[in-house]
Symmetry: C2
Subunit: 177 residues, 2 copies
DNA sequence: GTCATGCTGATATAGTATAACATTTTCGTT
DNA sequence: AACGAAAATGTTATACTATATCAGCATGAC
């Protein structure tokens, strides 16, 4: 069923995967989803989505702002934040609260519960959708008499690649060498 | 074993509980913990802890800054942030990433895993320590080959009191009437 | 008392996000 | 094609959150 063949265990991609195809897939899906939902994926929004997908690391709003300013001249924060808001509303990206940054959603258009794994060594983020974990969350909320509306699940640590290679294997940007 | 007798189900306190004793207990415990850990709970740090405990709602750093400025004249941000950092390091408060704010820890000195329930109606936050949930988190990380170092678990929704009373029961400050 | 350390004060600046209003684009209707 | 409503973007200003840096002071060991 899935055509995404580049995942390692845990949702982190192979370090040498073809990332251009990640981006292409994400953009293609976004086009389809926005058409289905009757919302407009304008060139600006599409460009911001592409910027979020520029890597598997979290991207900050002001990073995107810098990219846009370089490409098309001075751009103001609301331009970026409005596009990000659109992408969030339509489930195309996720916000990482603990980092004030964003990553592309790997299961757009599927109305899923997700959890984020954040590698502190390489800086990459993996999105998982662990049913047992989400069930445990629902149970815990229920036991507390709490009506659950929104989950923020961010787990920081070491991805399997970094666990094996150790911190000496990273470059200045946090990427694996 | 516990002398905290004011909890409703789910960790939210009774709306008419004696909050002064919450604060007193928190400060007393902090004194004991800091003594045991050989760290200094200075008057400033103690005052900031008290400010965080001023309610069961999240308190922002700049809220505290305003309180301090009112009490003792102009105070600069680093004064507050350094005290908050100390309190975080010593497990006396928790940071709520999704709100850029802080709440007092209800189990200080116990090296526990915690999860936060954030009521969107009354604004209060409950800390739970659900073993099954934490176990599910550890399992999910393990399945992903991920070495877990830090968990951010923030669940937003409606507490049992607000679930029953509905939004009309709230005052302008978000507190139950 | 001296010294090293840790804590606080003070100034400046960096980083993140939104309010408010103006202009342009889009798209259906006339 | 002209019009008008709604949506999107541009623009300016400002609010909110957080940290770097250096100076001065308090504490406790010796
Ligand atoms: Zn990729
Ligand atoms: Zn990694
Ligand atoms: Zn209380
Ligand atoms: Zn409530």
């Amino acid at each position: 069923m899935t055509d995404r063949h580049q995942d390692l265990a845990g949702g982190f991609p192979e370090t040498d995967h073809d990332h251009a195809s990640c981006v292409d897939e994400a953009l293609d899906r976004a086009v389809a989803i926005c058409e289905r939902r009757q919302v407009r994926l304008t060139p600006l929004r599409r460009r911001v989505l592409q910027a979020v997908w520029s890597s598997h690391k979290p991207v900050g709003a002001y990073n995107i702002l810098t990219m846009l300013t370089n490409e098309r001249g001075t751009t103001a924060p609301p331009t970026v934040y409005r596009a990000l808001e659109f992408l969030l509303e339509n489930g195309l990206i996720h916000r990482i609260e603990s980092l004030n940054a964003f990553v592309g959603c790997t299961k757009p258009g599927q109305d899923h519960a997700w959890q984020l794994l954040i590698c502190r060594a390489c800086g990459r983020v993996a999105e998982i959708s662990d049913g047992k974990l989400d069930h445990a969350i629902a149970d815990a909320a229920s036991r507390a008499g709490f009506i659950l509306q929104r989950r923020t699940i961010e787990l920081a640590g070491l991805c399997s690649a970094c666990r094996d290679s150790g911190p000496a294997q990273r470059d200045g940007d946090g990427a694996l060498v």
